[in-house]
């Protein structure tokens, strides 16, 4: 488990695992998908609609829709508003089909 960014003062329950773009990463139940991705070093969540530029989480609270990822095959889910579940499949970099 990459713990460099997980705050030491928080005692956690045992880790679960999610897959991000096919790679397995550790997460804690109760964390948001965004938190798990951040702790694992992911900063780019999607590409912007018009220019296709890399975008990451911005508001962190469900307002800006910049942290959209595909969750278990469902596209455009806000990673900041979704809790991790064991064996969740996450795909980043999903621009709108044009």
């Amino acid at each position: 488990m990459t713990d460099e960014l997980r705050i030491a003062a928080v005692s956690r329950r045992p880790a679960i695992h999610i897959r991000v773009n096919g790679r397995s990463i550790a997460a804690t139940p109760g964390e948001t998908v965004l938190a798990a991705l951040t702790a694992a070093g992911f900063s780019t969540m999607k590409k912007s609609n018009v220019r296709g530029e890399a975008r990451g989480a911005f508001c962190g609270m469900g307002v800006c829709y910049e942290c959209l990822v595909t969750v278990n095959g469902v596209p455009k889910q806000r990673s900041c508003m979704t809790e991790v579940q064991d064996n969740m499949e996450i795909q980043t970099y999903e621009p709108d089909p044009s």
Partner: protein, 467 residues
């Protein structure tokens, strides 16, 4: 059709919402309390959920009060709907809601309290859309709700007291803060002294923040603003510049910071969209922090039976939200004849006197930290303003020059506010930019019309709704 009835529907479970819910439930009023978030408490009372683990946390007396209200909501007979979004509010207090991003249904309420809170505002600069530039609020959410730092070290920039709260939370969580860059000058804050006597809880909180930040050796740079974020694919460098008293950049005083993370914040905007949707009047008041819901003294909006409480009536912080949750609940109890006339009068009088003080406090900070027109006029052409539709400042300037100079007509050439966030992020910025470019007051502008669904909804969810 699957329809729920409630005496009172409270939209938003932050301070104002949980206070009103407690007071109404105490008088045996049937309350539904709903919110889009995963947990009760809104933005200020976020804490690591029990499911995740345990975190020792210091709580000041305001947060302690908040925790008691949360416990009250859980213990009392209140229907709590988390992860539930309002898609529309229709005549007769009929509300279309979506639960768990799955199920759409209607809910009919005798009365509604809009306690929708506020969101952060931003001043765009080149590179602010790059991964690694996040809002101050996002830093707090990651730390408080998930126990994760956004990076080992962060740089904080923007304007307002909230910057110091962000730096404080980061230090407390074991992170490092490279510096805090604050646009306003230290001297501009001196008149604060006049506010001191009645606002001690806020000042004690502020003093705790500042002492921690200063003792941690974090450089505080006033009259300094971020002018550019640079990096290949993600943030690597931030360029900051000194500004003079009028906000103009002083040439030759730039400083470059190497940093993986920049947290930005430029104050708050009230979430008025649901009030607009419901047909409630809104007005622009600089002293309240921008567009707010219009209410009478008892917080009833222009639509009878719909009340507004908390940041939606003016940005001023937790104490005003608690106070307004009390006022709205008391006003409703009185209307429902669950409160004796004399008791109502004495309690309301005290609450209204306190509200005036909170509004005064809010006014001071809203005017002090208001982003001046000059800052918007200084945004370079290539800077993105609308993140969803990749609209630049140059495109905005051109459109305004061509006569598309209102929030609604701008959508014709540019699609501003028409993307996924539906103008939540760029809306307040575009209003400010239009005011700056045209020299008109926002009070004379017609804000964007809000139509259902007020948040993006999956077709699957809509399909679950049948008459």
């Amino acid at each position: 059709m699957n329809q729920t009835q409630a005496d009172v529907l409270i939209i938003g479970n932050g301070f104002a919402g949980i206070v009103a819910a407690n007071r109404l439930a105490d008088a045996a009023v049937d309350v539904v309390l709903l919110d889009e978030n995963l947990h009760i408490g809104g933005q200020l009372l976020r804490q690591v959920p029990e499911r995740l683990g345990r975190a020792a946390s210091h709580a000041d007396h305001v947060k302690k009060a908040g925790r008691r209200f949360i416990a009250g909501v859980k213990a009392k007979k209140i229907t709590v709907l988390n992860r539930t979004r309002v898609l529309g509010i229709y005549p007769g207090h009929e509300v279309l809601i979506e639960e768990n991003e799955k199920k759409v249904r209607t809910l009919k309420a005798g009365r509604i309290i809009l306690a929708t809170g506020g969101r952060e505002k931003f001043l765009p600069f080149p590179g602010w859309t790059m991964p690694g530039v996040i809002s101050g609020g996002a830093v707090q959410v990651l730390i408080k709700s998930s126990g994760v730092l956004p990076a080992r070290e962060i740089l904080v920039g923007g304007s307002g007291l909230f910057l110091f709260s962000v730096a404080y939370e980061c230090l407390k969580a074991g992170g490092r803060v490279r510096a805090v860059l604050e646009r306003t000058g230290m001297l501009d804050k001196l008149p604060l002294a006049a506010q001191l006597p009645r606002q001690w809880p806020k000042l004690i909180e502020g003093a705790r923040f500042m002492s921690r930040i200063i003792f941690s050796g974090v450089p505080l740079r006033f009259r300094t603003r971020v002018v550019e974020a640079r990096g290949r694919g993600r943030l690597e460098q931030v360029v900051a510049a000194k500004v003079d008293g009028s906000g103009k950049i002083i040439p030759g005083r730039e400083k470059t910071y190497e940093t993986p993370l920049l947290a930005v914040s430029h104050g708050f905007a009230a979430n008025v969209e649901l009030a607009q949707m419901a047909g409630c009047g809104i007005e622009f008041l600089d002293e309240r922090g921008g567009w707010v819901a219009v209410t009478d003294d008892h917080l009833e909006t222009s639509v009878p039976g719909i009340y507004a409480a908390g940041e939606i009536t003016g940005i001023a912080g937790a104490l005003k939200s608690i106070n307004e949750g009390e006022i709205a609940a008391l006003a409703i109890l009185h209307k429902m004849e669950k409160c004796a006339e004399s008791d109502f009068k004495t309690r309301m009088k005290k609450l209204l006197a306190a509200r005036r003080r909170h509004l005064q406090f809010g006014k001071y900070f809203n005017l002090l930290y208001r982003i001046p027109a000059a800052d918007y006029l200084a945004i370079p052409d290539e800077t993105l303003v609308c993140r969803c539709e990749d609209v630049t400042m140059g495109e905005l300037r051109k459109a305004v020059a061509n006569g598309y100079d209102t929030p609604a007509t701008l959508k014709i050439p540019l699609r501003t506010a028409m993307g996924d966030c539906q103008g939540r992020t760029c809306g307040p910025i575009v209003y400010d930019i239009l005011a700056a470019l045209t020299g008109r007051s926002q009070a004379d502008m017609t804000p964007l019309v809000v139509r259902p669904p007020v948040k993006p909804v999956k077709i699957d969810s809509l399909a679950s709704f049948s008459e």
